[in-house]
Amino acid sequence: MLWFIVLSVVLITSVTVAVTIGPATITAPDVWGSIVHHLGLGANPLSPLRDSIVWELRLPRVLTAGAVGAGLAISGVVMQAITRNPLADPYLLGLSSGASLGAVAVLLLGSALLLPVAAFLGAALALALTLLLAGMFGRITPSRTVLAGIAVSALAAAITSLIIFWTVTGDSYREILGWLLGSLAGARWPEAGIACSAILVAGIPIMFSGRTLDAFAFGDTSAATLGVNVQRTRWIMLTVTALLTGAMVSVSGSIGFVGLVLPHAVRLIVGPRHRLLLPLSALVGASFLIWADTAARTFFDPRELPVGIVTAIIGAPVFAVLLARRVRS
């Protein structure tokens, strides 16, 4: 409970501080004044143009970062529990490759669909194909699901490569590269809406499945003796998680390491019990991605980095340290 309060405060502080940081110099009181004004209180201290920097660019982006970070961390926890694989991440089942394919189809083939919709459809299609493959020859086991996911990922990535190879002209690939690496640069209110709704619709219900996930940790047989309908639960958890991840990928591309590393880090602090692990991972994920994205948009100001580069640069060494500790203990 103490951790919960501490991390909630950290998250709220992160949001309020991160919106005051950016390439344009706007003072913190002005930033908050503008936000308070939009919430219906007080006069706006900023001109309409400078106000749009705060209200149309920074705030939706910070909120999207928080929601995406939370969503990826939750998805990572669930995937690691359901597949009993410590290397599982939210993109395991072909989701990111499927979403990338959808996005590339929109960006390069000029499909009429909106990018988030296409990315989500791609992710959903990849998941369906993965589960179909995994279930084709009998029970859906963790290892079959993972292997099917690898096959589907490879296929989707190959088709994506093919499309890019044939159609990319001039520098249009740069936009795609940024997207594939994970970037929140395009996050506006609609994206913030998608990400926050996904947390409400899929993320919150997952938070209440801690007991079920604990049962899964002991293996299918043990879970069954504890009264869990293993097959059905696995289907449901995978699908809900995929919806969550698909929504996140659709607004931010595939941001690596958040869903892989943060659950391990939080597990080190609070132990493996999912009732705590899920909400705390969500809080840490949200704060982490907000700061990673703030770094991405300010470190090389006025240029910006895809945030996936930042999360990987931080995530890879952290993961190595976690692995080393695991081996020692």
């Binding site: 390439p23 740069r174 690496l181 100001d301 990987a312």
Partner: protein, 365 residues
């Protein structure tokens, strides 16, 4: 405990297209990864590797491009030209030339050397009307970067490219491979990416120097072309209203813009407009909308390319609720430059003249 047999592969995603297949632009003047790491292969097998490799490239990219010395001007007596670090011997004038990108094709057309071209590739757009008759008969080898076989099948003795990155193993062939076959290669010096060769700030004398070099290689007289260039330039009047501009090259969520040392800066300086990204020591660079809004430029230069048209750019600006509030967007204060004229070459003076005229027509209340 049920364990997966392939845990080591979990999460592995192949994105081979991040490798050299996208050579046409992956180390061009116009790229996320600024330098031209022609020797760097990003044959990534995992997302992790991709991310880290690209991170490494981006970081080296920030180091390159700043500083450096101006392009060495050739001495008339030289028997070889140092071109982006590759020696180009001055022997008999080339007879069969493959040109890659519009700047190289147009340089030869401007020097009256269209009849030496045996193939063009990766053209950025139509040539200006004054050369369209000469250009109509030129064989087109490829819409994008040609493969080495395609280049060799045209049996050239000289390959002239607009970007260093056009010379790669999966592009037109490396310059040393071509040299081994007795084929000389040449890159527009203003597109050299090595700090020692990239102009520290492009000037018209750099473009004159390229005209000189090419004329020397082909042993033709460039005095008429140079005189025309200088006359056009002399006719461009600097705007005196103290205006600022954004040079919007491409992109939507991350705008890619003309920065402080390349052709965009040279053109904006020539027409008397301040570049809002002029303090970035690079030719072109990724930028961010927040800085654009904070600067609120008086006009926006839209680069019109087939893959990123001026209409698409206007839509990007108007669809983003923040940029829609920019004065230039609200009042449709746009200047348009064709992509092929936006890179350094014989059309840079034309671009300056054209933009100066468009700017003159803009009124500010």
């Amino acid at each position: 405990m049920e364990a997966t047999p392939f845990t080591g592969l979990v999460g592995v995603q192949a994105f081979p297209f991040l490798g050299r297949q996208v050579a046409p632009s992956d180390c061009s003047a116009d790229t996320l990864m600024q330098p031209c790491p022609s020797e760097v292969f990003v044959f990534a097998v995992s997302r992790t590797v991709v991310v880290l490799s690209v991170a490494a490239l981006s970081l080296t990219g920030c180091a390159a491009g700043s500083g450096g010395t101006p392009t060495p001007t050739p001495t008339p007596a030289a028997s070889a030209i140092d071109n982006c670090g590759v020696s180009v011997p001055i022997t008999s004038p080339p007879q069969r030339v493959v040109t890659i990108k519009s700047t190289s094709t147009e340089m030869l057309l401007a020097l009256g050397l269209g009849d030496r071209i045996v193939g063009t590739a990766f053209q950025d757009g139509p040539v200006p009307a004054r050369w369209s008759a000469d250009a109509a008969s030129l064989p087109v080898l490829a819409d994008k970067v040609p493969s080495q076989e395609v280049v060799l099948s045209a049996t050239p003795d000289f390959v002239y490219a607009g970007w260093e990155s056009n010379f790669s193993a999966d592009g037109a062939g490396t310059r040393s491979d071509l040299a081994a076959l007795g084929i000389r290669s040449y890159v527009s010096p203003s597109a050299c990416k090595e700090a020692a060769y990239q102009p520290s700030k492009l000037s018209f004398s750099d473009i004159d120097a390229e005209i000189n070099q090419v004329a020397e290689i082909f042993s033709v007289d460039d005095s008429t072309l140079l005189a025309n260039q200088h006359a056009t330039l002399a006719g461009v009047a600097k705007d005196t209203r103290g205006l600022s501009a954004l040079w919007f090259s491409s992109g939507s969520s991350v705008p890619y813009i003309g920065a402080g040392i390349g052709a965009p800066q040279l053109i904006l300086d020539t027409i008397g407009v301040r570049n809002i990204a002029g303090d970035i020591k690079d030719t072109w660079a990724p930028y961010n909308w927040e800085s654009v809004i904070a600067a609120n430029p008086d006009v926006i230069v839209l680069v019109d390319a087939s893959w990123s048209t001026k209409e698409k750019k206007i839509k990007v600006l108007e669809d983003n609720p923040a940029t829609a509030k920019l004065d230039a967007v609200k009042n449709h204060r746009y200047l348009v430059v064709p992509f092929a004229a936006s890179e350094a070459g014989v059309r840079t003076v034309d671009a300056a003249e054209d933009l100066a005229q468009q700017l003159k027509a803009q009124t500010f209340g």
